[in-house]
Structures are given as structure tokens and as C-alpha cells.
Symmetry: C2
Subunit: 202 residues, 2 copies
Amino acid sequence: MNDGGGTKIRILDSSEKLFGLKGFDGVSLRDITADAGVNLASINYHFQTKEALIDAVIARRIEPVNKRRYEMLEAAGPEPTVEQILEAFLLPAIELKATAPLGPLMGRVMTNPDLFVDRIFNVYLAPLAERFRAALAKALPHLSPEEVVWRLHFTIGIMSHQLLWGGIIERISNGLCSTKDREALIRRIVRFAAAGFRSNEN
Amino acid sequence: MNDGGGTKIRILDSSEKLFGLKGFDGVSLRDITADAGVNLASINYHFQTKEALIDAVIARRIEPVNKRRYEMLEAAGPEPTVEQILEAFLLPAIELKATAPLGPLMGRVMTNPDLFVDRIFNVYLAPLAERFRAALAKALPHLSPEEVVWRLHFTIGIMSHQLLWGGIIERISNGLCSTKDREALIRRIVRFAAAGFRSNEN
DNA sequence: GTCTATAACGGGATAGAC
DNA sequence: GTCTATCCCGTTATAGAC
């Protein structure tokens, strides 16, 4: 069944694809081994449990994405604009979705019942959100601290929805809108969110 | 076990609560009957299958919400402002979450793998989105048709995220932000999204 | 490291008495 | 309409040969 090369990687790749398409509860280990062309027991050998497999699948992608977010924010200098901050936050995630074989995995992570709150939120999202919140607060000194958090929360919502249902806009719009042009997509989101952040009242 | 009153309603109420908390795949029929204090077989008697139960749970809430959305849009007259349109779209859903015992059920619906695409999207969301898209296009004549759809898509993302993870902002902000004041919440979202919609470039 | 076989369990659904 | 008891299936996980 197995050609001998990279069983562990193949399990991760298939898991990523299927979890993205069907959700974590919606994919059995048998679905994964069938897609990957490996044996059922090999998952237990390499990852012990399904839960640990899920964590490994997520960590493999989210860590480089967050690293790139911090790098882009640093690269924008000590006084980044709202647009630069938002792009640093959004671009790495949107690009990943387009290039890796993950389907809407990241969106799935953001919208999964227990997983998100208990394991992802504290480890990956809370420190990230705090860093970007601070940058946005500095770039928007007239905005109340409370309102900065709210607007970041709204922006995260836009991102999650795009990661999860990016393709659906082609159906909503009867083909008028396309997600092919990633640069244009990111520009659109940044423009929309930046205008929201700059809105006057508190 | 059962006191004789309203078994069907109690099943719907418990299902709504638990599905909201744990997702559709994460809740078994046994979980529901335990919470509702009814017999396992009564679910099959009243709803035949789990899938039909899920549909019934959703329909019970989404239909009045959409009805109210259309009514609020009508009530705003023939030339509603962007803010009026957005409020008509957002308020009924946000209010429902706060008043019904459903937890984040509607958010769950919006982010569930198959359910959304195959059953909810065509029946409930597509006609609604088309009606509000047309209203927004009329209120924003300088915006390209394509951009209107994109920005509505972003707004739906904000709403879904709020419906699903509304409470998390209190943790992100260490208690600074609160979702208690629903009117203020709706105003915040409307203001943010309206500014995004009014952003100049196409 | 990889496989077969199977254990142990929980799931949805149903039969049939009351 | 409501209950008990049960069927049958798919699930995760593991034991043990190779």
C-alpha cells in the first residue's frame, strides 16, 4: 500500500485537506488513511491519537503564518500605518490558503467548537491579537482602547469568513466576483477594514 | 421521566442549546434526550432523523429572523441609507442570539461544513443576500457591482464571527469590552461596516 | 515502520409492549 | 405518545506478527 516515502507527511497532508473540507469531527481516521494511501495503524504509530494529529496539522501551518505576520509588522518600521498593520495580519493567512493544500483549514480552526477556545486561542491567537492591538492603538491614537479591540474583532471575523467560505462569493455573485487575484483580495479587505478603523465616533 | 408537557418543544430547545455549544457533530441524540429529560425514542418519533431535527431547529429561528430583516428594510422606506440597510440585516440576528436560548447556534449554522452549503445557503441566505445587495447597490451608486458583493461578504463575516464568538471579546480584552449592551454592539458593527462600504476606491 | 485483526465503545435508528 | 431493549454500524485505539 505504502510506497515507502514520507508516511508521516502524507498523513499530515491528507488530514489537512480533509479537515479543511469536512471539519475535524466530520473526518474519520479511516478517511485519512484511505486518502493518504497508508495503513490505519500508522496514524497511531506516528501521532498516537486523533487529537494529537489535529494539533500537529494545525501547528505545522499556523506557526509559520504567525512568524510571517510578526516579520511583516516589524518590516513596516516603528510607525506602521493602519494599512500596513492590517496587511501584516491578513496577508500571511490568505496567501497560505491559496498555496498550501489545506483548503479552508485555518477557517475551520477559527470556527471549531472546543478546539479553538481551549487550545488555539491561548497559544496562538491571544499573543498575536495583543501585539496587533497595540500596533493599531498606536496608529489610531484618537480611538478608545475599547473600540480598537472591537474593530480588531470585526477584522478577525472578516478573515475567518474569507478563509472558510472564500469560494462562496463566486456563487453569491453568479461569477461576478473571483478569488483568483489574491493581491486584489487582500487590498479589498485591507481597504474595507482600514476605513472601518478610521471611522470617527467612539 | 417526562412530565407530559411539550416533549417536542423541549427537544428543540435542548437541541438548540447543545448544538450551539458543541456543534452539530459534537452532540449526540443521547446528549439531547438527557438534557431535555425525554426518551431517546421520542426524537425519532417526532423528527424521524437527526438531520431532520437539525433542519427543524434551524428553521424555527432563521425564518422569523429573515422575516424581520425584510420588514425592517421595508420600514426604512424606498431610499434607505447604508446604515439602515446594515441595521436591518444585522439587528434581527444579533438580538435573537441575545434573547433565545440558542447560544451561538446561528454562528454554528454559518460555519458548518456541509450543512451550510447544501441546505442553508440556497434556501435562506442566497435570496436574502440578493435583496440586501440590491439595496446597498442602490444606496451606493458610485460603487462597482463587484465591490458591493465583496463588502457584503465581509459584513456577513463580521456577523458570523460575532454570532459564534461574541463572548470571546471579553477574554481578548481582559474584560474591557462587554457584549451586554446590544444596542451599542449593533451600532459599533453598523458604523464599522458602513465606513467600509463608503470607502472610495473600487 | 508497516501491516492484519480485533477489541471496546458510542453512535443513530427501530421493534414492539404499554 | 412514551417507554425498554436491542440491532447494527462506524469509530478510535491497540495487540501482535512481520
